[in-house]
C-alpha cells in the first residue's frame, strides 16, 4: 500500500452510540499537511462557539503527520479539544509511543465524539475499535496502576500507546491531564477532564502495520543526515541533564519564578537543579519512539517504611524543568526529595503540574495575606512545606470542601471567589510555564493560540536580548517576531515534530525529508501554509470570544523585575492592541482574496 496515502485516513469514534467509522480525508491532508493543520480543520467541523467543553458535544482529536513514524524526533501527537479551563480551542502535545502507534494503526487522525453513560476504555487495533468496560479501573488511586493493569491485559507490547486519566480527570479537575507511557503527558488545558466528562478512562492504540517506502535510496540518505543531526550538538542540552539544565541559568538570569512570581531568584535553586538531581537521584533515561536524545529523566526515591524497619520501597519519578519551577521554586520548595514526592502525587492523580503549582502558589500567598484560613485549606500553607502541598494535591482531586472545589477550577476562578487577583498568575485563565524572562514571553502567553510557552518560544527571544545587551524592541516589532515564529511552528506541529528538534529541522531539511516521501513543498508553500494555519487558529479563538484587549494582566508580573527590567503595562497594552489590529488586517486581506 502507498505509505503516503494512508495518512489521510481518519478514524471517527462515537462514544454515545458505541460505533466507529473510517473516512478518507485527503481533502484536509493535502491542504493542511497533518498534525495541527488538519486537527484545526477537524475541530472547526465538529465544535461550535457554544459547545460546552464538558458536554458530549466536545470532541477529542488526535492527529499525527507525514513525518510521524518515519523520521527521528517526529514523535509527537497533537491533541485538540475545547478546553474546560478557559473555553477556547486547546492544543496539547505528547510523545511516548502515541504518535507511532496511531500512524502504524493506519491513521492520520482520530476523532472521539459523544459520551458514554458508564466508564469505558477503547482499544484501537488495526481497523477495529473495541469498547471495553472500565468499571474495574475507574476510581483507582494511582494512574500508574491503571497503566499496569492495561499493559498486562492487552496485546501489542512495544507497539502500542496507553493513554489514560487519573482520578483528577474522572472528577473533572479543569487542569487534569492525560498520561501516556507512564511518564509523558498531554499535560495542559484539561484534556483529562474532557476524557472524564465522556466517561473515557483510557485510549489504547496498537500500531502494527508496515508500509513500503516510495524511494529507499533518497530516503536512507536524508534519514542518516537527520539521525546524525538529532544526536549532535543541537539537542545536547536535552540529552545530558534534560530540560532541568535550565534551572541554574534561569536563576542566574533572575528569571526563575519563585514563590508565586514574587522573585526571579530562588535561594534553593542549586538543590533542585538538573545537576544536583542527576548526581543524586537520576535512575534511568528513557526516550520517545524514534528519538536518540532520551530527554525523559527518571529519578528514584528510596524510602524506609515508618511502620516496619528494613522495609523499603523504591519509586520512580519523572522530572523536567517545568515541574521543578511549578512545584519547586514557585512553591519555595528546596527539599529535593520533598519536591520529587510532590511530583509523584501530581503524577498519580493525573494533574497538570504547571497549573497545580501555580494554583497552590496563589493559595499559599492568599493564606499568608489572610484571604483564606485553615477553615478553607484544612491545614496551614507555608512556602516550602511539601507535606501540606501533597495533602492539598489530593484534596484538589477529592474536593472535601467548597474551597478545594474552587481550586479545581483553576487560579482565575479561585481569585475571583477569594480575592488576590493581582497575584493570581494566569493569562486567559491559563497558568503559565516558568520563564520570567521579559516582556516578549508574557505577550506571547497572552496572544499565543495555545496560551503556551511553546507557541513561539518567546522566552528565548527575551534571553537573546539579554545576552546581546539590547532592550526590548518596540511592542509592534515584538508582536511581529512572535507571529512569525508561531506561524513557522505550525509547520513543525503539522509534520509533527518534537519542538526539541526545531534547531535540526530547518526549512530546507523539512522540505528535503518530505520530498523523500513524495511530498512536493517549497519554502514559499510552507511559509504560506504555516501562516494560514496560524490565522485559522486565531480566527476560531476570536469566534469563541477571545479579545486581546480584555485580557487580565496579573499585576505581579509587572511588579517583579525581569532580566530586561520591569515590564511596563503600557508596553503590553500597546502590543495587545497591535496584535488585534494585525489579526484584523490579515483576516480581511484573506477574505478579499
Amino acid at each position: 500500500m502507498d505509505w503516503v496515502k494512508t495518512l489521510s485516513k481518519v478514524l471517527y469514534i462515537d462514544l454515545t452510540r458505541k460505533i466507529f467509522w473510517i473516512e478518507d480525508r485527503e481533502d484536509l491532508f493535502s491542504r493542511w499537511i497533518g498534525g495541527i493543520g488538519v486537527a484545526t480543520q477537524l475541530y472547526k467541523e465538529e465544535v461550535s462557539r457554544r459547545t460546552d467543553p464538558l458536554s458530549p458535544d466536545n470532541v477529542i482529536i488526535f492527529a499525527v503527520g507525514p513525518g510521524t513514524g518515519v523520521f527521528p524526533m517526529a514523535s509527537k501527537t497533537v491533541a485538540v479539544f475545547k478546553s474546560p479551563l478557559n473555553g477556547y480551542m486547546a492544543e496539547s502535545h505528547a510523545g511516548g509511543r502515541s504518535a507511532a502507534a496511531i500512524r502504524f494503526a493506519g491513521y492520520g487522525a482520530i476523532v472521539i465524539k459523544g459520551a458514554s453513560e458508564r466508564p469505558v476504555y477503547i482499544v484501537i487495533d488495526d481497523e477495529k475499535v473495541r469498547f471495553r468496560d472500565a468499571g474495574a479501573i475507574w476510581g483507582m488511586r494511582s494512574s500508574e496502576t491503571v497503566g499496569r493493569v492495561l499493559r498486562e491485559a492487552l496485546p501489542g507490547a512495544g507497539m502500542r500507546t496507553i493513554m489514560r486519566i487519573g482520578r483528577a480527570g474522572e472528577r473533572l479537575v479543569r487542569y487534569a491531564n492525560v498520561t501516556v507511557e507512564t511518564y509523558r503527558h498531554f499535560g495542559r488545558m484539561g484534556l483529562g477532564a474532557v476524557f472524564g466528562s465522556k466517561k473515557l478512562k483510557a485510549v489504547v492504540v496498537i500500531g502494527r502495520r508496515t508500509f513500503k517506502l516510495p524511494d529507499v535510496k533518497s530516503f536512507r540518505e536524508i534519514y542518516r543526515e537527520l539521525y546524525e543531526l538529532t544526536r549532535g550538538p543541537a539537542t545536547r542540552k536535552y540529552h545530558d541533564l534534560g530540560t532541568p539544565a535550565n534551572v541554574i541559568p534561569l536563576n542566574k538570569l533572575g528569571a526563575l519564578p519563585t514563590r508565586n512570581f514574587s522573585s526571579g531568584r530562588f535561594e534553593g535553586a542549586e538543590e533542585i537543579s538538573g545537576e544536583k538531581l542527576a548526581e543524586e537521584n537520576l535512575a534511568r533515561r528513557v526516550a520517545c519512539v524514534a528519538c536518540p536524545v532520551a530527554c525523559i529523566h527518571l529519578a528514584y526515591i528510596r524510602e524506609e517504611y515508618a511502620t516496619e524497619r528494613f522495609f523499603y520501597k523504591t519509586e520512580f519519578v519523572p522530572y523536567d524543568y517545568e515541574l521543578i519551577y511549578a512545584l519547586g521554586s514557585n512553591l519555595g520548595v528546596n527539599d529535593r526529595i520533598g519536591l520529587l514526592k510532590i511530583i509523584k502525587a501530581v503524577e498519580e492523580e493525573g494533574l497538570d503540574a504547571i497549573s497545580t503549582g501555580v494554583v497552590l502558589a496563589w493559595a499559599t500567598e492568599a493564606y499568608e495575606k489572610g484571604l483564606i484560613s485553615e477553615k478553607e485549606t484544612l491545614r496551614p500553607f507555608r512556602w516550602g512545606d511539601w507535606r501540606s502541598y501533597i495533602d492539598a494535591i489530593h484534596n484538589i482531586v477529592l474536593q472535601p470542601n467548597e474551597f478545594y472545589k474552587i481550586l479545581s477550577l483553576g487560579v482565575e476562578e479561585a481569585a475571583r471567589r477569594y480575592g488576590g487577583e493581582e497575584f493570581a498568575i494566569a493569562y486567559n485563565k491559563v497558568e503559565p510555564a516558568g520563564y520570567h524572562t521579559g516582556p516578549l514571553y508574557h505577550i506571547s502567553l497572552a496572544i499565543g493560540a495555545r496560551h503556551s510557552h511553546l507557541d513561539a518560544g518567546a522566552y528565548s527571544m527575551d534571553e537573546k536580548l539579554v545576552a546581546s545587551g539590547k532592550d526590548a524592541p518596540e511592542p509592534e516589532k515584538a508582536v511581529e517576531m512572535i507571529i512569525e515564529e508561531e506561524a513557522w511552528r505550525q509547520i513543525l506541529n503539522s509534520y509533527v515534530l518534537c519542538l526539541f528538534a526545531r534547531g535540526v529541522y530547518t526549512k530546507e531539511l523539512v522540505i528535503k525529508s518530505l520530498k523523500a516521501l513524495g511530498y512536493n513543498y517549497n519554502e514559499e508553500d510552507l511559509m504560506r501554509i504555516g501562516r494560514e494555519i496560524y490565522v485559522e487558529k486565531h480566527k476560531i479563538k476570536r469566534e469563541e470570544g477571545f479579545q486581546a484587549d480584555k485580557i487580565r494582566i496579573p499585576r505581579r508580573i509587572l511588579e517583579t523585575p525581569t532580566p530586561l527590567g520591569r515590564i511596563s503595562e503600557n508596553y503590553i497594552k500597546k502590543a495587545l492592541e497591535y496584535y488585534d489590529k494585525r489579526i484584523d488586517m490579515i483576516m480581511s486581506s484573506q477574505q478579499s482574496k
Partner: protein, 134 residues
C-alpha cells in the same frame, strides 16, 4: 571472519526503537513489524527494556524443527531462510525460546536476523554491537 549482532548492555537502552526502524528501513519499509529486532519495556519503562534479537546459536533449535529444510545454518551462527522452501508452518517461531524468530504477516514467513549490523549504526547509546565469531 563472521560476525554476529550482540546486545552489550540492555541497561543503556532508552527504548527509542531506532534499531527497529533501521531494520525495517534497510529493506525499504517503515513500521514496527518488518523488523528482526524487537524492543519493549520490561513491564513499565522505569524497569528498563527487553531487547529481543537472534543470538546466532551454533546449534539453532529453529533449524531443527523446520520440516522443509528452509533454514540452513549460517556460518558464524544462526540461520539463513530460503523462502522458496518455507511453507510458513511457524514451527521455528515456537522453537525459539527467546522469541527472536519474528513473523512477517505480509509474506506469512519468518523474519530472521541476518546479522548485517545495519541497526548498530543507529543505536545512539551503543547498546548494540557486531562481534566477531571465532
Amino acid at each position: 571472519m563472521y560476525k554476529r549482532l550482540v546486545v552489550m548492555d540492555p541497561n543503556m537502552c532508552v527504548g527509542c526503537q531506532l534499531c527497529m526502524e533501521a531494520c525495517s528501513n534497510r529493506f525499504g519499509y517503515v513500521g514496527p513489524t518488518k523488523s528482526a529486532i524487537y524492543v519493549r519495556s520490561a513491564g513499565g519503562v522505569e524497569r528498563g527494556f527487553v531487547i529481543i534479537v537472534c543470538r546466532a546459536c551454533k546449534d539453532p533449535p529453529c533449524a531443527r524443527v523446520c520440516p522443509t529444510d528452509a533454514l540452513s545454518l549460517r556460518p558464524g551462527g544462526g540461520v539463513i531462510l530460503s523462502p522458496g522452501r518455507c511453507i510458513g508452518c511457524g514451527n521455528c517461531v515456537s522453537a525459539c525460546d527467546i522469541g527472536a524468530v519474528m513473523w512477517d504477516y505480509d509474506t506469512m514467513k519468518p523474519l530472521i536476523c541476518t546479522h548485517c549490523g545495519y541497526c548498530v549504526g543507529f543505536c545512539p547509546h551503543n547498546v548494540l554491537a557486531l562481534e566477531e565469531v571465532a
